[in-house]
Structures are given as structure tokens and as C-alpha cells.
Amino acid sequence: MGLALVPVVFLAIFFVLPVAGMVGRGLQSDGAWDLGGIGEVLGRGRTLRILWFTLWMALAGTAFTTVLGLPVAYTLYRLSLPGRRLLRALVVMPFVLPTVVVGVAFRTLLAAGGPLGFLGLDGSWAAILAALVFFNLAVVVRTVGGVWEGLDPRAEESAAALGASPWRVFRTVTLPALTPAITSAATIVFLFCSTAFGVVLTLGGLRYGTIETEIYILTTQFLDLRAAAVLSIVQLLAVVAILFVAGAARTHRERAMPRTSLLSGLRRPHRGDLTALALTGLVLVFVALPLVTLVARSLQVGDGWGLANYRNLGTTGSGDALVVPVWTALDNSWRTAVDATLIAVVLGLIVSIIVSRRARSAWGRRVIATMDGVFMVPLGISAVTVGFGFLITLNRPPLDLRTSAVLVPIAQAMVALPLVVRTLVPVLRSIDDRLRQAAAALGASPLRAVLTVDVPIVWRPLLAATGFAFAVSLGEFGATSFLARPDRPTLPVVIYGLISRPGAENFGMALAASVILSAVTVALMGLVERLRVGSMGSF
């Protein structure tokens, strides 16, 4: 059990300590606790308005993302379509784009005079909602798709053979098997939506504040730490409540299930798939539109077209806007991402293994359920609170880490960790323990049993999780911009630096760099897909 301590200590140092430090600073005056302010802050009309908006925006974002994500997951992971691997990678592209770039892409489309300006959505909550769906679709498609792909189609086939309608088959056979994955994905999407920050600020044009934007303004502009602390606590309580509900929904459903490791799950599309295909087409157009806008604008040079913006990526921009050329930043991003992915995958694996154990006592079950939820919490807490918390808590030896380069991959790993855990746990829990017992009974050593039972099943989701963690790290901006050292910026940090400075050249470079960032991600995800397929021959 000592191993369980590694992720717990990690979380305690890099999450609990900073957040507690910040909240403590906010609620203490002259060394004594002053809790009288809590009621006052919560009683403000503005606070209530913001809480309400955050809640329903996150709920709506989650609902839309999940409903739209399911047909896409089905089409891309269950049907043998040509080019499906490319499409799978395409869906992930938005996930790694810096919010400021997505903001510009969306606003270019929606602003008066833009291609979709006639919709009148610029600056509306509908624009924010669309952007939330755009960002998070990848979470649902990949989490659910990964499980869907591995489902044994024979159960569905027998149901159909016994006369069940396709809808009935889906409702009684497929959906129950997918529920744990759907709940997992929806939980993550909800946490992402409720802490969305850049998108809300850019697209909402300030009219719509969420808890996250409010904490940012209170902390960085007004230095009202008390109000920020109160909102952080509200955030924490809400997240815990959500995780509790999600955890309860999951444990009722997660169980061992028969699965296939053959690719027989993939089949040709037939007429019954038309709805799913049409919906997928629409969603893909919706995902592609902002991306196409981005590519088009990156190729615009003055009034004409050209590759000048891409050629400039080897420079530091006009007026030396950057410390390092964009290619160097890409190199930094890649190195950081390798570290972050390693940390996230290793810790995620440990947590998943522990959490997927079936405890015999009620107490043990409670411990496991708590641990399961605890590692999700960082997704739901304001990056500003954590970031400022780093500054005031990790400031003395032996933990004087404020300027250490190590913090960047660690912060990124913290964002990626829940994704890894949520991808692996449903799979691990679904492994029938009797398989291991059978292996042991046949004389296999514990290691051999793991290699022949667990590894073949976990292997594919683990690769998926690794790819996802890598993508998260490549695209992470909030925490990275806060922690990255100026002489070693990552690509999103450089893009932000370029876009916030005057000059058409810098703007063009920012868009070109964004296109490169997406392209690298797509290439990587494509590679992961290929590896997963390559592995099939050996089993």
C-alpha cells in the first residue's frame, strides 16, 4: 500500500497545500480566522448571478457535448469508414488549441461581417456554449469511443437475432455497457466547462462572468482575497458534490464484462447508421470550420496569400517579440510534454490500479471511492487559486520551487492525470477477476498473470490515455503561462505572446504557430492510433 502514497503526496504538495494557503490567506485577518465575510460575499447579488450562470452553462455544455459526442464516437470507433483515423485525430485538434486562438477563430467567424455574422451570435452565451462543445468533444469521443470499440459485438448480435429492434439493442445492451465511460467523460467535461476561463472572457465580451473569471478578476485586479477564497470554497464544494453523484452513478454500473480483443467490432455502415453518420458529418463540419478559418488566416499575407507567416516561425517576430524562435518553443513544448505525460501516466496507473480494487469491507470501499474522486478535484478548481497558492506556499526550502522548471510538467500532469485515471479505471474494473484466478490456478506467477490477463486488455486504453495526456500537455496554457520560465516558453505561451503584440507579422505568426501546434497533435494522435492497431496482431 506504500505505493498509494506516491500520488497522494504529489497531490498534497502540488494541490492541497497551495489551495489551502490561498484560502487561508483570504479568510484570515491579522492571523485570526475571520469567517464573517463568507455570508457577506455570498449575499452579493453579483455572486449569486455568477454562480447561477456558471452552473447552467456547465450543465448545458456537458449535455450538448455528450449528446453530440455519442454518435461521433459510434461512427468513428464502430464503423469501418475510410479515413476514420484521420477524423479521430481531427476531433482532438480543438482540445490543444490555446483558448485565445480559438477565441479569435470563433470571433472571426461570428463577428459582424464574418462568414457566420448573420447568425448574430457574436458576444452571446450561445457562442460560449458552442466553443465549450468545440473544446470538449474530444473528451467524450475518445473516452466513450475507446470502450465502444472494445465491446464484444456478440451480445448485441444475439439481442438482434432474438428480435430486438436496433434501438432496443442500444438501450438494453450497448448503453448499459457504455454508461461508466459516458459518466466518466461527462464528469470531466462538466469540470472543464465549469472552470472554462479564456473562452468565456473572449467570447462573452465580459457580459457573462463565471466563478472562474470572477476569481481571476478578484485576485489579479482587486486583490480581494477574501471574496476569491469564498468562491474557491464554493467551487470545491460543488466539485465534491458532482464527483459524489458521478461516483455513485458509476459504481452501480461498473462490472466485469465480456470483451473482444479482435477488431470484429468494426463493421460496414448500413442504412440504420444514417442518422449517426449525418450527425457525425454535421459535428465534424462544426469542428472543422474554426480550424479552416485558422488555416486560411495563417496563409493571408497582406492582401494576398503566401507562406511568409510560416517562414517567419524561425525568427523571433517583429520588434523581437519573442525570446526564442517558434521552433525552439515547439522543442520546449515537446520535451515538457514527454515529462508531463510520464508523470501523469505513471501516477494515473497507480491510482487506477488502487481505485479499481474491489474492497471487501465497507470502510475499504469508502476509502477507494474517496481516492477515486480526490484526483479529479484539481480539474474543478481555479488555476488562479492554485497558481497564486504556489507562490505563497512553495516559497521556502526544501520546497522553494517557485522558479523551478520542474513545476511546468508537474502542473500539466495534474490536468492530465484525471483523464488518464478516467480512461483506465472503467477498463480495469471491467476485467473479470476470475480470469486472474484461473491464470493463478493454472500455475502462472503473479507477474505472468498480469502480463497475460491485465496487460492485453489495458494496453490499448493505456496508449489512448498516453496520447491524450500528451495532447493536454502540448496545449496547456493557463498553468504553464503562470509557471514557464521566460527563457524556455512552450508553444502556447509563445502564441499568446505573439497575438497580444501589434503588427500584422506577429499576428500571422501566431496563427501559423497555432496551425503547427494542431498539426503536431494530429500527427501524434494518428501515430497512437496506428500503434494501437499494430498491437492487435500479437494477441
Binding site: 517579440a321 525570446v323 515529462d339 510520464l342 501516466v345 505513471v346 497507480i350
Partner: protein, 372 residues
Amino acid sequence: MNPINHRVSLALAGTLTLALSACSLSSGEPSSSPASTAAGSTQGTPSSGHAKGTVVLVTHDSFVAPKKTLEAFTKQTGYQVEVRKNGDAGELTNKLVLTKDSPLGDAVFGIDNTFASRAVDAGVLSDHTPTNPPAGMAPFALPDPKAARQLTPVDYGDVCVNIDDRWFAKKGINPPKTLDDLTKPAYKNLFVTPGAATSSPGLAFLLATIGKYGEQGWQDYWKKLMANGTRITQGWSDAYSVDFSGGEGKGSRPIVLSYASSPPFTIPKGGDKPTTSALLDTCFRQIEYAGVLKGAKNPAGAAALVDFLVSPTFQKTVPDNMYVYPVNDSVSLPPLWAKWAKVAKHPFTVAPKKIAKDRRAWLEQWSEIATG
């Protein structure tokens, strides 16, 4: 055989990987180029030849200095500079206040006249004024004597309404000139500005209106402005690159809030004059200051760095690198600036102490009017 054992062995494999990841790619990497040593990275380990160690400069995200300039400082004084960026001016100031007991560095650059009082009142700075104050610096000093002893003006910039001259010429409409003009029906739905709560030029514009219409009058002005179809964006880049017709996005609005130094950037390739201009009767002046942090590990180095920031060597780099004007008037501006980026003769002003006291109330009132 207990199934837990299997999981333990799986987990053990994981720990091994963790141990392996200790030899990571990003943390063990030595600095890529010798020049980057001057710009950062060697913390606490003075490299050979520079026995006097490192000065840590805490600054905002917009700080840019050519490597050569920082190397010149090292050559002159023996100190190396390590730059640490910390968000915008507001975030920077608030971080300094929060970390007062264990400061983030030795010297600070980038606290502006809207946040100066907060930093001074919180006591994050030590007294230091340059030994050889440059000509022309005095008018930019903070009015409060204590603040003036701690913060040295380095550069300034005028935040002004900009217009797309080509648009107005093409439509045959007379362009606006004053803040009052922006509320006239002729300019309905033409103005875009970043919001005061989320953008520092946005705040500067709010302060310009407070300077012009007074503490009681600005709210009425903003109501009229909003009724005239003003669009508020989150940040400057969004307003200038998406909505402004003279910017990169060729948006739909020909009036934007930007800087007095923006026009030279719109000179077309092969052209000789900008397609936009700044309205110099609508400006608020942002002044940026530097100072020595209280509790600095290297106070002598910090003082030397502050002195360097107002010396001609550094001052002549600020227009091209940070798009601001040097306070040292013995330094000449780049030719295009001298011609096309004139500054306001009489910018609107609001006392820094007043800003520190009322900022929040103003921003809350503003939010109600502009985004409510």
C-alpha cells in the same frame, strides 16, 4: 493467490517508470545558447567571469529587452540579469504584495501609475532613486513624495482612440476627434474598446473618461457610449485584430481603442504613411516604473539595474521592443515614430492615490453600465 498481488506488481512496474522519469527531458537540459544565460536560467550560480552574481528582475509579460542590451549591463556592472515574467501590471503588483515576506526577486519593472499606490502602500519596495537621473524624467515622477523615492519612471505610453483613415475617406464621413464625438449618431456602432475590468488599456480609457468628465460625470458618458453601440471586448488583441477595420482582421469597426504608437504599424508594404491615426485629444498616459524590492537578496545589483533601465543604452530599445516612449529625452525616437507616433500634449490624468482608492468602485460601476 491473492489478486492484489497482481496489481502490486503492475504498480511496481509503474514506480520503475517513475524513477526513470526522474532523468527527464526538460529539467536536466542545459541552457541552449550562451546568450540565454544573460536572459535567465543560471539562478544563484554566478558563472565564471562574473563574480558579482545575478539580479532577478520581476516584470510583466510585455517586457522585452534585446539580449545584447542585457549583456551590455553585465559587461558594465558584472551582474547577470534573470528575467521573471508575472502576468500583466495588475497581476504583477498583486503577486509582489502577496509574496512580500519572501520576494520573487531583487528588482521590479512594470508597475504602472494605476497600480503604483498599491505597491507603495503595501510596503513591497525599498527607497532608491537613480544616481544620475536622466534629463526629462522629472515630469513622470509620482506626485506622492514617498512613492517618488521608491519608484523610478522608465517609459510611458499614451492610450488613445485610433481611427481607420481609409474607411472614413472611402465613406466620405468626417472622422471623430474627441471623446464627445464618440457618442454622436454619426458614429453609431463604429467603436470597439477592450473592457476596463480585463484589460489595462481598457482601464486607461475608463480613466481618460473619468479625467475628462469627472467622478460624477463619467457614468453618464458611458451610458451614452453604450447606447451608441460601443462594443466591449476582453482584451486589446481581440479588439484590434478582429473588430477593427484597420487591423489584421479587417473587421467592421473603424474606431478602436489602442495606443498613440499604433499608427506606424499600419504603414502598408511599399507605402510611406500609415492608414490609421491616433486621436490625441482622447488619451490617458500610462507610465511604467522600476524599483528595488524590499528584502532583495541582491539590493546593490537591483539598484544598478534600476539605474541601467533609465540609461540611454536601455532607453533607446523601448520603442521598438515594448512600443512605449523613453522618459529619457536625450534618446531619439525611431524615425517612423518621430513622424507618425506623436504623443498627446495634454493627456487626461487621474491622481494615482485616487485610482488606488476608487479603482474597484469605478470598475464595479463600469461593469454595471458596460456589461450589465
